[in-house]
């Protein structure tokens, strides 16, 4: 009981030394504010690519219908409806659109010619450079063309093979079965469902960025510990080993409060119990990581020089902006990677727990070897 009260007392006072700094409060408050501003500003999505949809004949019903499908549906592609093909082409030429899909005036006739077996293009695509994003975006165009194309194929089949000429009968049997269900459903590896559009792709990197903030906080605590270490000179040697972990953990947990508030405001939290648990585990893992680095690098100047490298590794290798599928052996050295994967995978949470234990153990062993339990020696 005495040890627990003593620990609480230490916890409170070490926390107080951080919370008495106005600058630290400024950082804590800035985090949710910045994220809230971004979430509100990004509520109307931009798009991964910007496609101008141009109609050669604005009055063409088939083209208008396809254009409507393209522009009305929520998507990671931004589609802009232009009143003419020339306008769409100009947007591409001037760099204001990544590509243009030009729907011809005789789109309906082209569907019929296709269903009769003629090879005829349906849409002209104008681009400055044909990159992978534009290639993948074509599937959206096909999905918008397809209802009309499939009807044309069905009608052609009905006429040629089933000898049915009545438009009414053809329409009736085309629409006779409408399952209204998806052919493919989405799930995460733990079986939980996912809505592909559940959150804006502009906002989802926020979790990763904030996770990096916590990692940076742990590293800064490691740098800062060298300055403060003398103040703990009266601590018994045996307990002194745990002191840096405690300092790093306190800072990361303070940052975690701000980060959780930010995640809540941005709508990125799906389950609060899971969120709180994984965050607490992540903070502990960061404390271990920072302590290992502190014992390896020694001087605060070296830690400071290494900081941007760790940041860059985090930005590049962790699933924040990209899901890089290489260098897995390096990725698992970063607690941020395990945390981000662990949000949707219980397995990775276990890995994170194992990582935490290992990093704390390694930190303690390195401290023993190095003898950096001595204040001011790091």
């Amino acid at each position: 009981m005495l040890h627990f009260r003593s620990l609480l007392c230490w916890w409170g006072l070490l926390n107080k030394r951080l919370l008495k700094r106005p600058g630290f409060w400024a950082v804590l408050l800035a985090v949710p504010v910045l994220v809230l501003v971004l979430t509100l500003a990004a509520s109307r999505n931009g798009g991964v690519v910007r496609i101008a949809v141009g109609l050669e004949e604005p009055q063409s019903p088939a083209a208008r219908q396809v254009a409507q499908r393209l522009t009305e549906r929520e998507s990671v592609l931004e589609t802009v409806l232009c009143e003419s093909a020339d306008e769409a082409r100009t947007l591409v030429e001037t760099g204001r659109a990544d590509g243009a899909w030009l729907l011809p005036a005789d789109l309906e006739e082209r569907f019929d010619r296709l269903s009769a077996g003629e090879a005829v293009p349906l849409v002209t695509m104008v681009v400055q450079e044909d990159n992978v994003l534009l290639q993948l975006s074509r599937e959206k165009l096909f999905a918008a063309l397809y209802p009309d194309l499939s009807y044309a194929l069905f009608a052609g089949f009905a006429e040629s093979e089933l000898q049915e000429r009545s438009e009414e009968e053809i329409r009736k049997y085309y629409g006779i079965i409408q399952r209204n269900s998806r052919f493919i459903e989405f799930a995460y590896s733990d079986g939980s469902p996912v809505d592909p559009m559940e959150s804006s792709f502009l906002v989802t990197p926020v979790r990763g960025i904030l996770a990096l903030l916590i990692l940076v906080g742990a590293l800064v605590s490691a740098m800062y510990f060298a300055q403060e270490a003398e103040a703990f000179v009266w601590m018994r040697r045996r307990k002194r080993f745990l002191l840096p972990f405690l300092c790093h953990l306190i800072l990361t947990l303070d940052l975690a409060v701000a980060v959780l508030a930010a995640l809540g405001l941005s709508g990125l939290v799906s389950s609060w119990p899971r969120e709180l648990g994984s965050m607490a585990l992540y903070c502990t893992a960061c404390a271990g990581f920072a302590e290992v680095l502190r014992n390896i690098l020694g001087k605060p100047r070296r830690l400071g020089a290494a900081l941007p490298l760790v940041l860059l590794a985090g930005l590049a290798l962790c699933p924040i902006f990209l899901n890089v599928r290489r260098f897995r052996m390096v990725q698992v050295l970063l607690p941020t990677f395990l945390y981000l994967y662990g949000i949707r995978s219980g397995e990775f949470i276990l890995y994170l727990a194992g990582y935490t234990v290992l990093s704390w153990a390694l930190g303690l062993i390195l401290a023993r070897i190095r003898g950096t339990e001595e204040p001011g020696e790091a």
């Binding site: 007392c9 030394r17 009266w234 001595e374 204040p375």
Partner: protein, 225 residues
């Protein structure tokens, strides 16, 4: 009442040997002045005895028990006042005392105990960032005395203090010594030297007995040679 014995203590920093063979002893009521030039290893010696640094050899016994091997006993028996004032700027005096004192000991210290004697009670709610050097030093001494130690290691305790504060602190040390405590002081200060009952000169990593008779000029020449 137990005596301390320091035997063959060694300490190296990477390849440099700072303490080669330090040996001396002190009994209750004694105050040993550790003399030596800048960089001679006085602070290193005190830090090693205090447990801040790990020794590379030798022993430090109190009543026959080697304090280098008994961390718990050393923490209870030895108090250390470092050269600077290693305190956390944002915390108050009371916060620091709560870190190092048990609740009952803190109550006793504040009510007629050592903390009251040091005058710490007068600025309990003051943050360290707003304290004067004298206040910080008194607080440091108060923190060092948390375990009611029998041995007190002092590294230039009255440096940068005003005359009144210095006098008060030296009076306290005098009282501590008279009550049977053992003091080791690393110092150049004449008033602190006056407090001592014996002297050791630290030179080339080795201590030797020294006779100081109030002649600072001679002392500085001896330190150089």
């Amino acid at each position: 009442m137990e005596s301390i014995e320091v035997r063959n203590v060694q300490k190296k920093y990477r390849r440099k040997t700072v303490l080669r063979d330090v040996t001396f002893s002190a009994g209750p009521g004694e105050c040993i002045g550790i003399l030596g030039g800048n960089g001679s290893g006085k602070s290193t010696l005190l830090k090693t005895l205090a447990g801040v640094l790990r020794p590379d050899g030798g022993s430090f016994t109190l009543g026959g028990a080697d304090l280098f091997r008994d961390d718990k006993r050393r923490a209870a028996a030895v108090g250390y006042v470092p050269q600077g004032t290693p305190l956390l700027r944002e915390l108050t005096a009371m916060d620091h005392l709560r870190l190092w004192y048990r609740p009952e000991a803190l109550r006793r210290g504040l009510n007629g105990g050592v903390l009251e004697m040091l005058g710490v009670t007068g600025f309990l709610k003051t943050p360290v960032g707003k304290m004067s050097e004298g206040m910080k030093k008194r607080l440091s001494i108060g923190c060092a005395l948390a375990s009611n130690p029998r041995v007190l290691l002092l590294d230039e305790p009255s440096a940068a203090l005003d005359l009144v504060c210095k006098a008060n602190i030296l009076d306290y040390f005098c009282m501590y010594r008279n009550r049977g405590g053992i003091l080791l002081i690393a110092t150049h200060d004449p008033q602190e030297l006056e407090l001592c009952t014996g002297y050791r000169l630290l030179r080339d990593g080795v201590t030797e007995p020294y006779e100081y008779r109030g002649d600072l000029r001679r002392l500085s020449e001896d330190m150089k040679s």
